[in-house]
């Protein structure tokens, strides 16, 4: 590789090995973090990490997070976030149960939540622009609305949870199906993020929205499309989330919004988005996050210690990956 190419690659004029290292410091950190988790937990879990049962539960746990993280890439690469995803998942799960129990049609259930998820995506993307609000405000609005709907839906059942009764949803909890779904979503997202206008423009919006708009890009349109893309992934993830337990309640999905953010950040993606956003951030981050939770529990680490370890790692990664001192949090 010539010097010119290296300069182009590193983007900062530094050449040689250290220049490359410096320009990929976040990627290196995230990969090292994953490797470190694997090595440490393989030793400390007395081999339990790699027993067949644990591998199956790792796949089961990773599936939902992976699909959501891959979808969230489009939103986070713009430097935005969607805090409504958790309650959306909860409501979609409940709706799917209602539809499955009354019609037995998985297709109808999925199409219904897909349409809803697309509408929510469009709302999140468009309303924020039209009203000149930070996107987090519209997603907060959706979070409260969906949170209320979730409570009402469950309260009307007279119980604190409902289950799928007339359909064998557990077939979607099969490891092979889950791997297939993750790979399929991964390929689509990889292609869309790296080889289509959607990926290029979302990263560009994250890097500098004004400049992107001045280049003739309809940023509003691409924001809406990015949120809708995330919506598709939320609908798919809802199927696999429901398949895990066959039931849903008033708090189903509630932790996912923050978990997804953690996954992406652990993968080395800056919260401020931009050109350094990569698909591997979602993949590595999700694997690290799930391994961290699973490995610490398997190793018998105290609950409080687990919280502390997670919190410190999260804080350290946020500080490391923040691109701009003035923009620690997404807009």
């Amino acid at each position: 590789m010539g010097q010119e190419a290296i300069i182009k690659k590193t983007g900062n004029g530094q050449n040689g090995f250290w220049g490359l290292v410096k320009s990929h410091i976040f990627d290196i950190f995230s990969v090292l973090g994953l490797i470190l988790c694997v090595v440490i937990f393989t030793i400390t879990s007395n081999g339990n990490l790699w027993n067949a049962y644990n591998i199956s539960i790792l796949i089961e746990t990773v599936c939902g997070y992976m699909i959501l993280s891959l979808g969230a890439l489009f939103v986070y690469s713009m430097g935005f976030m969607d805090v409504s995803v958790g309650v959306q998942l909860g409501v979609y799960s409940i709706l799917m149960i209602f539809i499955l129990n009354s019609t037995g049609s998985m297709l109808l259930a999925f199409v219904t939540v897909l349409v809803l998820a697309l509408l929510c995506g469009a709302f999140n993307g468009a309303v924020a622009v039209w009203l000149g609000l930070p996107s987090i405000v519209t997603s907060l609005f959706l979070m409260f609305v969906f949170g209320g709907i979730q409570y009402i839906l469950i309260e009307r059942t007279g119980s604190n949870m409902i289950s799928v009764e007339n359909y064998d949803i557990s077939k979607f909890a099969d490891s092979k199906i889950m791997i297939l779904a993750m790979v399929a979503v991964g390929i689509v997202v990889f292609y869309a993020f790296n080889f289509t206008k959607l990926g290029k423009y979302t990263k560009s919006i994250g890097a500098n929205e004004k400049t992107t708009a001045q280049c003739g890009v309809n940023t509003t349109l691409w924001k809406v499309i990015a949120y809708m893309m995330f919506g598709v992934c939320v609908a798919i993830a809802a199927v696999f989330l429901l398949a895990r337990t066959g039931s849903a309640g008033k708090g189903t999905g509630s932790t996912y919004a923050m978990d997804i953010m953690l996954c992406i950040i652990l993968g080395g993606m800056p919260l401020s988005g931009g050109m350094s956003s990569k698909v591997r951030c979602a993949v590595i981050g999700t694997l690290t996050y799930v391994l961290l939770s699973n490995g610490l529990t398997l190793s018998g680490v105290d609950i409080q210690t687990i919280h502390i370890i997670k919190a410190v790692i999260f804080l350290a990664i946020v500080l490391l990956t923040c691109r701009d001192k003035g923009k620690i949090l997404p807009r």
């Binding site: 440490i40 049962y53 289950s163 039931s247 008033k250 999905g253 699973n294 529990t297 190793s299 500080l319």
Partner: protein
């Protein structure tokens, strides 16, 4: 500056990982001969957690068990299934969970792995009928009594005797706590019965429609809608959800009869005739009740059965500590493990628990009696 910051953070990361390694090294995951039991609690701290852990630590040696803990979500089924799966992966032969959440899915995992599941301070209302015949489900010990009728009547009697005239009624939503409806109904029935014969001046007015708290603290608007109340029957956890609002609105002259307990001095110093005297009744379940699912699980693991083993999993009531006056509070402070967090204050010693095992001649009747002999009079007799 930025470089320095990165270096500091990198060092911090290394330090964190080193700490975690040290923590991991400190855990004794390698003692294969001990029976590993997973405990899933809905909180990761607080007096109940401290006391539960102290009790289990105290009996672990005698029973040759080790306990590993996870925190369950009160609302997220998938998170609870993951927690149960991780316990199974880590080698647990039994699990005791405080949440009836994703129970059927968790039991499917238990069946696959040959692990047993028991409930602790939970009536498993949602799933009990579906899982009571599952061979991997050993039953559950309830947080007090399964039926709320008796406590509702007991509070009504206290209210009548103590002469309060306008009573506020607060509970959690029915869909989550259906037995609070029984408390509510029993309380109203008892008051109605009293009002039939009482003089007009002595009649008691009960809030027409019970306020339901959606797991949020009581709103200050409550006092505008119910301006004349002089006592509240808080069927929900009033220490956390009602008392703070009373304090913030200078309404601590209203007497509070409620479920729950706190070791916090701001609560206990205002109990009975002390402080502002707002708290008139507090109720809590004993952590030693965990003995029921633990013994049932250990019997299964040992391949033993009680001579009077029930044909299906049972939902067993546990006795509660009702604190109704300052003397009783003093007794709790001095003798209850829930307050002291010390195993020496436990109702049951390690050998008591061991003797309840089927292999040591225990019976199901003895076991039930043990978890139902932990009321205030038993505490006073200690």
């Amino acid at each position: 500056m930025k470089k320095t910051l990165k270096k500091i953070i990198s060092l911090a990361l290394v330090a964190v990982m080193a700490c975690s390694c040290a923590a991991l090294a400190g855990c004794d995951g390698g003692k294969g001969e001990k029976v590993k039991i997973g405990i899933g609690l809905y909180q990761d701290q607080g007096p109940a957690v401290t006391a539960t852990r102290a009790f289990l630590d105290g009996i672990s040696e005698e029973l040759n068990c080790e306990f590993t803990y996870v925190t369950l979500s009160q609302t997220d089924e998938a998170a609870n299934k993951t927690a149960a799966q991780q316990l199974i992966s880590s080698g647990c032969k039994g699990m005791i969970l405080t949440m009836d959440s994703a129970t059927e899915a968790i039991l499917q995992e238990c069946e696959k792995a040959g692990v047993y599941l028991g409930g602790y301070l939970s009536d498993y209302e949602t799933s009990f009928d579906k899982v009571k015949n599952n061979p991997n489900f050993v039953g559950t010990v309830v947080d007090g009594r399964y039926s709320g009728t008796q406590w509702g009547e007991e509070i009504a009697e206290r209210i009548i005797n103590e002469g309060y005239k306008n009573i506020g009624m607060i509970k959690f939503p029915s869909f989550a706590f259906p037995h609070q409806n029984e408390m509510d109904t029993a309380f109203r029935a008892k008051i109605e019965e009293y009002n039939k014969t009482a003089a007009d001046a002595d009649k008691i007015t009960v809030q027409a429609e019970t306020t339901e708290l959606m797991f949020q603290p009581l709103s200050a608007d409550y006092f505008s809608a119910n301006p004349d109340i002089d006592a509240i029957y808080g069927m929900c956890a009033g220490v956390d959800f009602i008392y703070p609002t009373l304090t913030q609105n200078n309404k601590t002259n209203i007497k509070l009869y409620t479920a729950g307990f706190s070791v916090d001095d701001s609560v206990l110093s205002n109990f009975g005739t002390s402080g502002n005297g707002c708290f008139q009744e507090l109720v809590f379940s004993n952590v030693e009740a965990i003995t029921y699912p633990l013994v049932m699980i250990l019997n299964k693991i040992d391949g033993e059965e009680f001579s009077d083993n029930p044909s299906e999993a049972q939902r067993v009531d546990s006795s509660q500590i009702r604190i109704t006056n300052n003397e009783e509070l003093d007794t709790v402070k001095e003798k209850s493990m829930y307050y002291t967090g010390k195993f020496e204050n436990s109702f049951l010693s390690a050998s008591d628990v061991s003797a309840l095992l089927a292999k040591n001649g225990g019976t199901h009747e003895d076991l039930v009696k043990a978890v139902q002999s932990m009321a205030m009079e038993d505490l006073e007799a200690k």
